[in-house]
């Protein structure tokens, strides 16, 4: 493990706790929007090589819908809400009150903007927790949406990190509909990849 990531168990626990409450907040928002029970797993916090990050969420070639928000101010980093495409379409349809979609094969403009807003709400719920717990300013960018290979999407954040490191600190929270068998086919991921200066700030503030 490189020096850049000086992570004691206590520090990992703190980040897990932030992710737990943050993603819990996001899961509640999703549950209210969809009127469905959404469950969340205990978030994972780890330092991973870029290649291991590319292999998350089903692998580099897995087709996903991604809402990306870059955060700035006191805490800087990248946030992604990642959904498998069929699941994204299902949520979009539910949110549009079953508005009939003409073409099932491509993501339509309307679907995109609904999902973009969904990602915005979920990431916003998460970020408000992050900001409240740390008393640090978090300024999210306008959300961007993209349907493509997971690797091509997540590498955008890795490039940002690659100026300083060959590893990433990944805070990964999985949310999914309750009662469904757990698999990457239905899992939603909220990934938070903070820049290295940011988690140092978080640790300083929380004195761990």
């Amino acid at each position: 493990m490189s020096k850049l990531f000086d992570l004691s168990n206590k520090r990992i626990d703190i980040l897990k706790e932030i992710a737990n409450i943050g993603a819990g907040n996001a899961a509640t928002s999703l549950s209210q929007l969809l009127n469905k029970k959404i469950e969340m797993k205990v978030p994972n916090v780890y330092v991973a090589s870029f290649n291991d990050v590319m292999d998350l969420a089903g692998g580099a070639e897995t087709e996903v819908t991604a809402v990306y928000i870059r955060i700035q101010e006191d805490i800087t980093g990248s946030m992604f809400f990642i959904l498998p495409i069929p699941q994204a379409k299902k949520y979009a349809k539910a949110l549009m009150n079953d508005y009939v979609l003409q073409d099932a094969s491509t993501m339509k403009e309307m679907e995109c903007s609904v999902l973009q807003e969904l990602g915005n709400i979920l990431i916003g719920s998460y970020l408000s927790v992050l900001s409240n717990m740390t008393n640090l300013m978090v300024n999210p960018s306008v959300p961007a949406i993209q349907c493509d290979m997971f690797g091509a999407i997540i590498s955008h954040a890795l490039i940002e990190l690659s100026l300083e490191s060959d590893e990433a600190l990944v805070i990964d929270a999985v949310i999914k509909e309750e009662g469904h068998q757990d698999s990457e086919l239905i899992r939603g991921h909220i990934f938070f990849l903070p820049d290295s200066q940011s988690y140092k700030k978080i640790f300083d503030i929380l004195e761990v």
Binding site: F50, V142, H156, L158
Partner: protein
């Protein structure tokens, strides 16, 4: 792409060299550039999955050569020569360098895809290696595979199908 095919996989910010009949591939190129330099006489090929245009952007030692356009070109040439390649026969094919989130500029990595492409081209030019074909830019991800028998680069995308160059 099962286990039975002779394919060597190259990860992000990595490089490798193969001889015929092996194929070489890398997955999930976004703003990164996949650079193939091949020798069609000695039938070998090297592939690098490049993340950044210039090694001067790094403030970290030791340097990972495959990560930057300038060092990747130099190192790939060196490796191919080690494998018995002759620089007189070297040719290149490149793919990637998309802008996955074109309207979300961030401080340090603005237009990183096109900048990666420009840097790779410039270093190939100064090494006198001709670019035979390319599939660069746009805003889509790519998975690429190079065949050391046919010297064809196959590019798979999610939204634009499969293409061979």
């Amino acid at each position: 792409m099962g286990h039975f095919e002779n394919v060597v996989k190259v990860g992000i910010s990595e490089m490798n060299v193969v001889k015929a009949p092996w194929k070489i591939r890398t997955t999930g190129l976004g703003s990164c550039v996949g650079l193939v330099i091949y020798d069609d006489v000695n039938k070998l090929a090297g592939l690098a999955h490049i993340m950044l245009p210039d090694s001067s952007l790094s403030n970290k030692e030791p340097l990972n050569c495959a990560k930057y356009a300038d060092t990747a070109v130099t190192e790939l040439i060196r490796l191919l020569k080690n494998y018995g390649g002759n620089i007189m026969f070297f040719k290149a094919k490149i793919a990637g360098g998309a802008e996955m989130f074109p309207h979300r500029p961030s401080s340090k990595i603005m237009r990183i895809g096109p900048r990666n492409v420009e840097a790779v081209k410039q270093h190939l030019l100064s090494s006198n290696i001709p670019i035979v074909s390319e599939d660069v830019g746009g805003k889509n991800g790519r998975t690429i595979e190079f065949d050391t028998n046919s010297f064809i680069l196959t590019i798979r995308t999610v939204n634009l199908g499969v293409k061979q160059i």
